[in-house]
Amino acid sequence: MSLFFIVALPFFGALLPGLMNSAGRSACAGVTFTVSLAAFIGLLTNLPTVLAGEVVTAGVDWMPVLGLNFTLMLDGLGFFFALLILGIGLLIIAYARHYLSRDDNMGQFFTYLLLFQGAMVGIVLSDNILLLLIFWELTSLSSFLLIGYWKHLPEGRQGARMALTVTGMGGLAMIGGMLILGQIVGSYDLSVILQNRDLIQADPLYVPALILILLGCFTKSAQFPFHFWLPHAMAAPTPVSAYLHSATMVKAGIFLMARMWPVLSGTTEWFVIVTTAGLITMVLGAIIALFKHDLKALLAFSTVSHLGLITMLLGTGTAFGAMAAMFHILNHATFKAALFMSAGIVDHETHTRDIRRLGGLRTLMPITFVIVVLAALSMAGIPLLNGFLSKEMMLEEATHTVLFNSPWLVPALATFGSLFSAAYCFRLIGHTFFGPVRDDYPSKPHDPGFGLWGPPAFLVLLVVAIGVAPFLAEPFVKMVTASVLGGEAEVPKAYFKIWHGLVPALFMSAIAVVGGLVLLAVFNPALRLWDRAPRPEAKTIFEALVEAVASLARRLILPLHNGAFSRYAAIGSVAIVVLGFHAWSTGTVGPATRVMQDVTPVSVAGWAMLVAATIGMVFLHRNRFLSLILIGIVGLMVSIGFVFFSAPDLAMTQFTVEVVTIILLLLALNFLPKHTPVESTVLRRVRDTGIALFGGLATFGLAYHYLLRDAVTGPISEFHLANSYKGGGGTNVVNVILVDFRGFDTYGEIIVLGIAALLIYALTETLLGGPVRARLLNRTPDAARAGDAHPMMMVVLTRVIMPVVLMVGFYIFLRGHNEPGGGFIAGLIVSIGVVMQYMASGFSWTSARLRYPYHGVIGAGVLIAGLTGIGSWFVGKPFLTSDFTYVRIPPFNEFELATAALFDLGVFLAVVGAVMLSLESFSRLARRAHVPDNEHPMDIDPSRDDKPVPGTPAAQGGV
């Protein structure tokens, strides 16, 4: 199966569980399982190629300019991790089916889980480090959702937030490191980067890149000092803990260290940083784990400790260390996932995870007991179980590692950590399952059904199989190691054996196991000592840090961003003018190249009216009705100006828009105060006048300047003028530009217009659904109402004129391609015709005759325009390529048919729908305000002799 499918399957599959939610829990889990299984099988089909030592690749260019390509690669290492992710994922899905209760939203859970799975598979299969970063961030996000899955638990939310903060910060650091790496090599492809070890390590930026990348790895894999988030993430449901926090996500950091091993390792910096961090994490994690009473917390810290162990092995930089690390990843995934699932079983059956309240479960839960004993003993490093083998290799490697010039430091600490590790494993077994049977369990414990114990039992089978017959795993681990080493070192010859003879590692193991037993024997005094010792609490420190950053942000933002819109507007205006002035004064200003055109008396008159109306608005704006009339004059003069300066289309648009805008503002003014009181101080008004004059003068200067100069380079309009008829089949160049040359822009515009109208509708609905509704219903109009709401003259006139308006609209629409007109203008004209009906005959009368809802009209418009665009695909042309032809039907002259006209129809419909939906929404507010709304448009109607039935639309029809 192509690698694309393996990565894509979980992502697309994530859509399914939500859909299957209503079909039952088994169906929901079943479909999730099937998706994972398909990806798993797809992965296995690539096994022969990988075993042959080849690398499977697949790729498409995504953004080649950025070096970001969707390239995937599958080698031994990637295969190993993908196998863990998908394989353990299958077991987890089966387990979660039985673990989640009926109250949990299973569809949501599995959707998150599949998203996470896809992101993880993406990380391990990426061949491009930028792509890898994307998947990396996706795992942080999806794990946030999973940890916080039980939203009602504050621990869940806090744990999720902490995990996201820590891993997100690490991810940010890693982005920096990866970008540096890409810059050094000149490529973002892993396959190229991995070939350039010497180049990278010689670069002065190697150390910053290394530190940044390691920050990402350490935060993700919970290495000291970032280990604190992992235990808090245990607030997640147990399947999540078992999956993310033992087998997969926390290993992503380790995966990346292994992936980058050939190019980053081997230097002193790598050795010191990675080995030290790993060693500290291992010892610290093991010590804390011993004293945790919560089963999951114990396991969490033991995971921290084991991740430290693996990190330390990778840090040594030797081939043997890398091989031991790979082997331990495999072993740890098996026994730790089994242990987590078992902890979940204990929790599920006894309703507590507190070790102090447990004990004696050996006889009550025999199956769980066997599973836990085998897995925990493996973790403690007891022979014949797989944990022993890799721990032995770790100790062996430790004896050869010299850190800070001391040959004793690493072996001693490794033994010390192993000792505590053995101790907590024994405590886990001893204090939970041995001891007397108690009579105060929160719930009566018994073994669960197969669904719960099956998955961990399967993993324990692996634990034993590898432990007894290590040669089974040897070829696989060696293959993985070979791809980690990437040719930089030979794969070690050493065989995986249980008995190596009396080597130092064996003695260290023995010390650890015996010491662990001794430590358990003196556990109670040790615990008292531990409880008395002062310890920093990571969560408190973290919260204090977050709070400090937040308060800093508040102190910085609030004084600047204080909610005063007029202040922002003032600062913005001044800043824009100042920047513009700076550009002006630093650029070169050419001489005037155009001659000023002569002024005619008519144009001076128009100018004078516009200026008078504008100045009048400024002085009279407190009277709102008056200012509305004045702005109408300004709009009218602008339209006339457009006609005068050879833009008939603009004039028609401006004019019609003017009408609907004024109606809209009138509707709004119905509710708003009719006067603006004097509030601002004189000083304030002087300041505002200053800013306004400053801005006006600047705009004037700019406009005057460029009106007298030709463009620096020739405008592209020449192309449009030359091709409008030849290519677009229309003589109205403006319309051809709108529906053809720049049709995609227009398509976007009508969508925006539609969204604006829907937004207005939604806001109206919200207002009418909330407390405002009551206020509207109870409000008394602040002005006297008209005695005759629907004057008969007006009603008759608007109805007579309606067909004429429609015909004009139709005419304007049809001629738009060749003469001034088109969809925009026709749409506005038709809207005005319909609005007239509302105004004259009333809301109810008009709505009752409305056949199509305006949302539908908008939708139809956008769809028609879009389908017209798609239509050109069928003839192999790009989106929105237009075509036209001339046809002749005998009685008529030859006329033109253009697909652009169909597009224009979409524009027309969208404009009608949007304008009408906005105006209708406003008038709906008004309608609710003074309820008795006559069903009949006219007070006198000869065709009517009955009274309208309240609640039914006027069935009598029109006049």
Binding site: L558, R594, S603, S646, P715, L721, L738
Partner: protein
């Protein structure tokens, strides 16, 4: 002629800016409308001023006004209607909900310092 257009743009901008800096929603909306006119005319004028030569192709004519700014401004006019309508709706909703049509949303004098904590 150029002087007239440029000064009209300047005056409309100045008027628009002054109204934009008022404290109530309605004058601010009118100010935005005035600014919209100014900006549209400004954009339109970037095609330079041409009298008596609309961009409608005719066989015997070769001088046309620049059609591209016209097409851009045409859509801008329609969009500005949509924008005005949304702004008016927001202003109206705010007024109906709180009986206050001030545009400035100044924080309370003793704003809760712990705001933003979870």
């Amino acid at each position: 002629m150029e002087l007239l257009v440029a000064s009209a743009i300047g005056i409309m901008t100045a008027g628009g800016l002054y109204l934009l800096l008022r404290l109530r929603t309605f004058p601010v909306i009118l100010g935005i409308s005035l600014l919209t006119y100014a900006v549209n005319v400004f954009l339109f004028a970037s095609g330079r001023l041409t009298i008596g030569a609309p961009p409608i192709l005719r066989d015997d004519i070769t001088r046309y006004a620049d059609p591209l700014p016209q097409a851009l401004v045409l859509t801008a006019i329609v969009i500005s209607f949509g924008m005005t309508a949304v702004v008016v709706m927001i202003g109206l909703g705010a007024y109906l909900g709180s009986h206050d049509d001030h545009v400035d949303d100044l924080p309370e004098p003793d704003a809760d310092a712990s705001e933003g904590r979870s």
